[in-house]
């Protein structure tokens, strides 16, 4: 029972984490009407998982040798792409709704892209879905024996525990302030996606598309990623007890690139127009050109102010 519990918990944890995050996201941006995208995405992911679990039995030859693995690897990288996009978009969104307009969510704009959140739910569930379905199917086949019932119970409890954890995230996330939620989830998603990216690299190594090499470190004696705690850390932050060099490099490279994409851009586009004036003004000894520029900037600002005040004065 214990063994099957750990397996299904491990397989379902990541899906549950992703579902918890996207549901909370919709709750936070007051787009509860759009829960259906996530629900449909999740249900579709489950159905396709069952379909693939059954369908894989009808495959043979090279299609069976490589087909499911390529689909699996493609789903991993698609999930990484979608999660990165989501984190990036949340960051853009966070900037737009910061301050006074906190509650004025642009529903139209939101609805236009929220189906992407459904796609995230789909990849999240489908990624380990087929494997979990096959596993549960396998233990159901043996359910006739007393041992089999125990295994089945363990498997079901594992899935239920993972779902409960997703629910806990949803519940906990609801009480965070909007900006805090966005900040925390962005970091969460990036770590999760970095772990997935490194898993994807591992898959390509297993398929022989990338060289494997020796593990860079071995902490399996300290914390094996097959234990419950290890599994949680694997799902949450991409922990590996024996990572290959490429997996470790991929993890770091993804984090650096994604963080640069999400936060790096923000600095430049945030207050783009005012920035030159500020940087000139803050210099200790501005040159003559800078002085002219800053005077101009003041002049422009003055103009704007007077124009703005204009109608008020005249009325």
């Amino acid at each position: 029972m214990g063994a099957t519990f750990v397996i299904t918990l491990r397989e379902a944890f990541e899906a549950s984490l992703i579902l918890g995050i996207v549901y909370t996201y919709l709750e936070k941006i007051e787009a509860r009407d759009n829960y259906r995208y996530v629900t449909w995405g999740g249900v579709l992911g489950l159905l396709v998982s069952v379909g693939m679990g059954i369908g894989v039995g009808y495959l043979s030859g090279p299609l069976l040798d490589l087909g499911p693995d390529l689909v699996g690897a493609a789903v991993i990288f698609a999930a990484v792409g979608l999660l990165t996009w989501h984190a990036w978009w949340m960051q853009q969104h966070a900037r737009a709704i910061r301050g006074q307009v906190q509650h004025r969510i642009d529903e139209a704009r939101a609805a236009q892209r929220l189906w992407m959140v459904g796609l995230i739910a789909f990849t999240g569930v489908f990624r380990e879905g087929a494997e979990t379905v096959l596993f549960l199917w396998g233990i159901m086949a043996q359910a006739a024996s007393p041992d089999g019932w125990g295994s089945l119970l363990g498997g079901a409890t594992g899935v239920a525990t993972a779902a409960a954890l997703g629910w806990a995230i949803f519940h906990g996330g609801k009480h965070l302030s909007l900006s805090k939620f966005f900040a925390v989830t962005t970091v969460f998603i990036l770590l999760l996606a970095a772990g997935l990216f490194s898993t994807g690299i591992g898959r390509l190594q297993g398929l022989g598309f990338l060289p494997l090499g020796e593990p860079v470190w071995d902490t399996s004696a300290l914390l094996s990623d097959r234990t419950v705690l290890g599994s949680f850390l694997t799902g949450l932050v991409g922990y590996r007890a024996r990572p290959s060099a490429l997996e470790a490099i991929g993890y770091v490279a993804y984090l650096v690139t994604a963080a640069g994409l999400i936060w790096g851009r923000g600095f430049r586009s945030g207050d783009g127009q005012r920035q030159p004036a500020i940087s000139i003004a803050s210099r200790p000894d501005p040159g003559p050109t800078a002085k002219v520029a800053s005077q101009r900037a003041t002049a422009v600002r003055g103009d704007t102010d007077s124009t703005a005040r204009g109608p008020a004065n005249s009325s």
Binding site: G57, G81, L207
Partner: protein
């Protein structure tokens, strides 16, 4: 957004290209047979020549699916009931590499010894 999509398309294209390469290069390698029966591997120890890629031909004779998993080699491969899969294995350094049938890990255990 566009960048994300083009990245995904890129991955898909690369995947297709690799599929072609993978299938073509699978020829002319030593094949080693491995059977799953009663949720056990037969044989439980496979000896291979270090430094030479090979193909593992795994047949599942059970009525339920099994997952051949080697954590060390990053391989997770479901073998449906009654099916045979051919797994391309890399050239291994001398050493022992464990594998399990993840769906019945208590009984289905084995190892590859590269020497």
């Amino acid at each position: 957004m566009t960048r994300c999509l083009s990245l995904m398309v890129g991955v898909a294209v690369a995947g297709t290209w690799l599929l072609g390469g993978g299938v073509l290069s699978a020829d002319a390698q030593t094949e080693i047979a491995l059977t799953v029966e009663n949720h056990r591997f037969q044989p439980e120890e496979i000896t291979v020549k270090a430094g030479t890629p090979f193909v593992l031909v795994i047949t599942n004779k059970d009525k339920s699916p099994e997952e051949f998993e080697s954590h060390d080699l990053r391989i997770e491969k479901v073998i449906p009931a009654g099916k045979t899969v051919r797994l391309k294995m890399p050239a291994l350094k001398p050493g022992t590499y464990g594998f399990v049938g993840e769906y019945h890990a208590q009984t289905a255990k084995g190892r590859i010894v590269a020497e």
